[in-house]
């Protein structure tokens, strides 16, 4: 399509330059204003011919587009289904399973098996977002009041970056996600690990860190499986350390970035719904130490 378009452009521009520079123009029967009959017929032939070519090219494009559209519209019968919910400004993904205890909820990083179709059920918790991983799929909007669907198959293992495509407010620019396509066996292992809750901490520092989490407002918004923190306003942190990035693809997930993010998220992502913390240094250290264990 790009190639055909480029060729058409080149032909039109060459014709234009030729027309503007050619010495063809000559006085007709009626001074300069009237062209001769022969010239007029030539002009007619050119315009009609070019018009016909336009119609033919457009019809070819149209048929091609319908063929591609039909192919894309074929749905697989069975697919792994992931509920994807857009939030200002992060992604919540839940792996569907008939057994509610086996449902896995994660954020901003979605593991999928290579070579198997994956279906996404798309919803929004607030405003319109758009799910787009350029290498894997076309866009599909997440619209409040609608559940839309999209599916694709990743043919090659790898990490694919995507980003919200529909303007969704202040931090639309920092609402990325990663699709991690891995061989089915590794995916199954990841899913199994993700559906088990982390063991309660025994180390006193870590236990203190967990206490800080529960008492310092973290638990008002976040969930950690197996604890009393079960809120769903912010991302599920049960396996926080299994992710590569934090803040929806904005920072690499390491202790230093995590500390900076917790201390002042507004400096990194102005407007994010996560507030600044007022933790004392000791509390913060313990909290980070605890979060670092959520593998």
């Amino acid at each position: 399509m790009l190639g055909v378009g480029g060729v058409i452009w080149l032909i039109v521009i060459c014709a234009m330059i030729y027309a503007a520079r050619s010495p063809h123009g000559e006085p007709g029967e009626d001074g300069l204003l009237q062209v001769s009959d022969a010239t007029h017929h030539a002009m007619e032939r050119v315009v009609v011919g070019a018009g016909i070519v336009t119609v033919v090219v457009l019809l070819a494009f149209l048929s091609y587009d319908f063929a591609v559209g039909e192919a894309l519209a074929q749905h697989p019968n069975r697919a792994l289904t992931i509920d994807l919910v857009g939030h200002q400004w992060w992604w919540e993904a839940t792996y569907e399973d008939p057994d509610p205890s086996k449902r896995v909820t994660t954020a901003n990083e979605i593991h999928i098996p290579v070579g198997q179709p994956v279906q996404f059920k798309l919803r929004s918790a607030d405003v319109i977002h758009s799910f787009w991983v350029p290498t894997l799929n076309g866009k599909r909007d997440l619209i409040p009041g609608y559940v839309s669907s999209q599916w694709f198959t990743a043919d090659t293992a790898g990490t694919y970056r995507g980003q919200c495509a529909e303007f969704c407010g202040l931090e639309h620019a920092k609402m990325a996600l990663y699709i991690i396509a891995e061989p089915p066996a590794r995916f199954a292992a990841w899913l199994a690990a993700a559906s088990t809750d982390p063991k309660p901490p025994t180390d006193p520092t870590l236990r203190y860190g967990q206490q800080v989490f529960m008492s310092a407002n973290c638990a008002v918004c976040h969930t950690i499986g197996g604890t009393q923190a079960m809120a769903t306003v912010g991302p599920n942190l049960t396996h926080l350390k299994s992710r590569r990035t934090i803040a929806a693809g904005t920072l690499a997930n390491n202790a230093a970035n995590l500390t900076g993010w917790i201390v002042d998220p507004q400096a990194i992502k102005p407007g994010t719904l996560m507030p600044k913390s007022t933790l004392q240094p000791a509390e913060l250290q313990a909290l980070i130490a605890y979060l670092e264990t959520l593998k």
């Binding site: 027309a19 063809h24 457009l58 319109i128």
Partner: protein
């Protein structure tokens, strides 16, 4: 009157020089504005209003350009700190809103309001007070938006203001209200201009200028005016009524939790929004034809085809809006209808370009600056047209939608397809407006820098978009690798800015010291060149009787003119819609302050409605008083005199 139809006038009716001077003095006395500032406020002359419309709209182009430059500075490198997200979102929203609602549409209307009466041989537009009212409403909107921006109340949800982001829950405060009511002022102004252009074109043409003889610029303005009449009510319903009411009085049109529908906004908005693009684009195409004709010294090839292309584009333009919504859950079959319609519209546009190219080929084009801009328009616009056909495809669009590819596409179409011909039109008609020619050397610098700048800025954006860069982002992370192409685009923006500065310098210098133009510097064919430059307050001493599509190129020895209109009072000739036969003589309204007063009342109504619905009652009440004054003045001297139709034998 009737002998005039065959284009010949009896010899005894030839005018002497003394009679001409006497008539001119009498007409000037009747048609001139009141002196001083009062005259400036009360004028109903389409040229005064058109000129200030053009200047205001151009200032808005500069304002929108400054916003664009700010955005390009912010995006020049990854994670730049020049603009934070809050300010960036206000700036990109104001840029889009300014360019669409305060520059492009008003500018195209203004060109029509200035030139349509001159091109059809009329003394003024049909509804001169409505014309003044439209401009004042527009000016209220301009001041409103920019005051809001400077008091940190600039709208920040994009020029498309998608709900629910723009709804009361996610955009508290008054920023989106500013956007919703700003659009109202543009709607009023555009509708006033459209009605004026339609009636002026249908009823005030020079005798003999039948519909198949009107200039293509006037055709484009006429077609676009009808589009405005059908498109603007959609956005008026959407923004002024539904969105504003959702925000002000808790209606739930767009709230899914209460049975509303978030997608409804997109339908309503794009049912206006897509025709809007053609409302901007078609007048620009109308400007291309006279430039091509004049500098190729040829009648344009395919007049009928060009007219039909205009009309069919206008029809199709209303059947494309869903191609802005291919990523929403609309059934595939429905989407494919809009794909087909979107591709279809390329045909009339293509035919127009083919017609101009063969016209140039048949002549020997003089490459003046105006003509160069036409070539630059074809060069740039065709790229935008081709990417438009690509975007019509659902599967392609689902990749490119909402990315910088789309940003590139619509800037190629709007800057390349509308602003480039507009620049050419400035060079072409500047002498008619000011009496002096623009400088050609500076003009060529302006042209080359502008076309290079546009391509340098926007071509890389195609690649960025296909590489995954979404639009409307205030920054991007370094690992994305989008830095270098963004830097190129930012440099391109600098080149465009330089070209605009050269243009402004050119206008400033030429306005004072440019070469004197005379009535017809280009030896062009339209009626607007049959009167001195700048045109006197009454436009034409005696309007020519038109016998062909190119009245000034007619090889006639005697040029018959229209006589018999009153010299003692404002009187205009109305002609029949199809054949432009003289129909009646009408008294024409005098200058009036009431349009300004009513426009200010509209300002109170709509700006006040943001803060309290009671302002609507108060503002409309005040406006009502003004409407009495408006109607009272114009009716005290009203007259309407039918002209007996020529009998059948004479017409035949």
């Amino acid at each position: 009157m009737s002998p005039a139809y065959d284009g010949h006038l009896p010899a005894e009716l030839t005018l002497t020089d003394a009679a001409i001077a006497e008539d001119a003095a009498a007409l000037e006395l009747v048609w001139r504005d009141a002196p001083g500032f009062w005259g400036w406020l009360t004028t109903v002359d389409h040229k005064s209003i058109g000129k200030r419309y053009i200047i205001t709209a151009f200032l808005m182009f500069i304002a929108g350009g400054i916003e664009a430059a700010m955005m390009r500075t912010q995006l020049a490198r990854p994670e730049n700190g020049f603009l934070g997200p809050d300010l960036y979102n206000q700036i990109f929203t104001t840029h889009g809103t300014t360019m669409m609602f305060l520059f492009a549409v008003p500018m195209m209307n203004a060109m029509g309001l200035y030139f349509v009466p001159l091109m059809v041989g009329a003394r003024n537009v049909a509804f001169p007070r409505l014309n003044a009212f439209g401009y004042w409403c527009y000016l209220v909107g301009v001041v409103f938006l920019y005051v809001s921006l400077f008091v940190n109340m600039g709208p920040n949800t994009g020029w498309t203001a998608y709900v629910p982001l723009s709804g009361p829950q996610y955009s508290p405060g008054h920023r989106v209200d500013v956007w919703a009511q700003l659009v109202t002022f543009t709607e009023i102004a555009a509708l006033a201009a459209a009605v004026n252009i339609i009636v002026t074109t249908f009823k005030m043409r020079a005798p003999g200028m039948s519909l198949n003889r009107i200039p293509l610029f006037v055709w484009a303005q006429l077609v676009v005016s009808f589009m405005i009449v059908f498109a603007m009510p959609a956005v008026a319903t959407g923004s002024t009524i539904m969105l504003a009411a959702d925000r002000a009085v808790d209606t739930q049109w767009f709230n899914p939790a209460e049975g509303g529908d978030a997608l409804l906004w997109q339908h309503v908005f794009w049912f206006f929004g897509h025709p809007e693009v053609y409302i901007i684009f078609l007048p620009a195409l109308g400007m291309v034809t006279p430039i091509v004709e004049t500098f190729s010294r040829r009648r344009v090839f395919g007049y009928t085809a060009l007219v039909l292309a205009n009309i069919s584009t206008a029809f199709f333009a209303f059947g494309l809006w869903v191609h802005h919504m291919f990523a929403t859950p609309i059934p595939e079959l429905g989407q494919s209808m809009f794909t087909a319609a979107s591709m279809l519209i390329a045909i009339p546009t293509g035919v127009q370009i083919f017609c101009w190219i063969v016209t140039m080929w048949s002549g020997r084009p003089r490459l003046t600056t105006a003509m160069l801009f036409v070539l630059g328009f074809i060069f740039t616009f065709v790229i935008g047209g081709i990417t438009g056909v690509m975007l019509a495809s659902v599967s392609f669009d689902q990749q490119a939608h909402d990315t910088f590819f789309v940003v590139a596409h619509f800037h190629y179409v709007l800057l390349g397809g509308a602003v480039t011909p507009l620049m050419g039109a400035f060079y072409f008609w500047f002498p008619k407006v000011t009496g002096r020619l623009l400088d050609e050397t500076l003009g060529k610098w302006h042209f080359w820098l502008f076309v290079i700048g546009v391509n340098l800025t926007f071509f890389p954006m195609h690649i960025l978009g296909l590489d995954g860069m979404p639009r409307r982002v205030y920054t991007y992370l370094a690992p994305t690798g989008w830095g270098s192409l963004n830097l190129v685009a930012s440099i391109g923006a600098l080149v465009i800015a330089t070209s605009i500065v050269i243009f402004i310098v050119n206008v400033a210098l030429s306005y004072r010291g440019g070469e004197l133009a005379g009535a017809d510097p280009w030896h062009s064919s339209g009626l607007e060149w049959a009167t001195p430059s700048p045109a006197p307050s009454y436009n034409f001493l005696h309007t020519r009787i038109v016998g062909s599509r190119h009245p000034l190129w007619e090889p006639t020895a005697d040029a018959p003119v229209l006589v018999g209109l009153s010299m003692q009072r404002r009187e205009v000739l109305l002609t029949s819609t199809f054949d432009a036969r003289p129909d009646s003589r009408n008294h024409h309204p005098d200058p009036s302050i009431w349009p300004l007063y009513v426009a200010l009342c509209m300002g109170v109504t709509f700006i006040g409605s943001i803060f309290s619905p009671y302002f609507i009652l108060g503002g409309i009440g005040l406006a009502f008083v003004g409407l009495f004054g408006w109607a009272w003045q114009s009716s005290h001297a009203a007259g309407h005199e039918l002209i007996a139709p020529p009998d059948a034998a004479e017409v035949a």
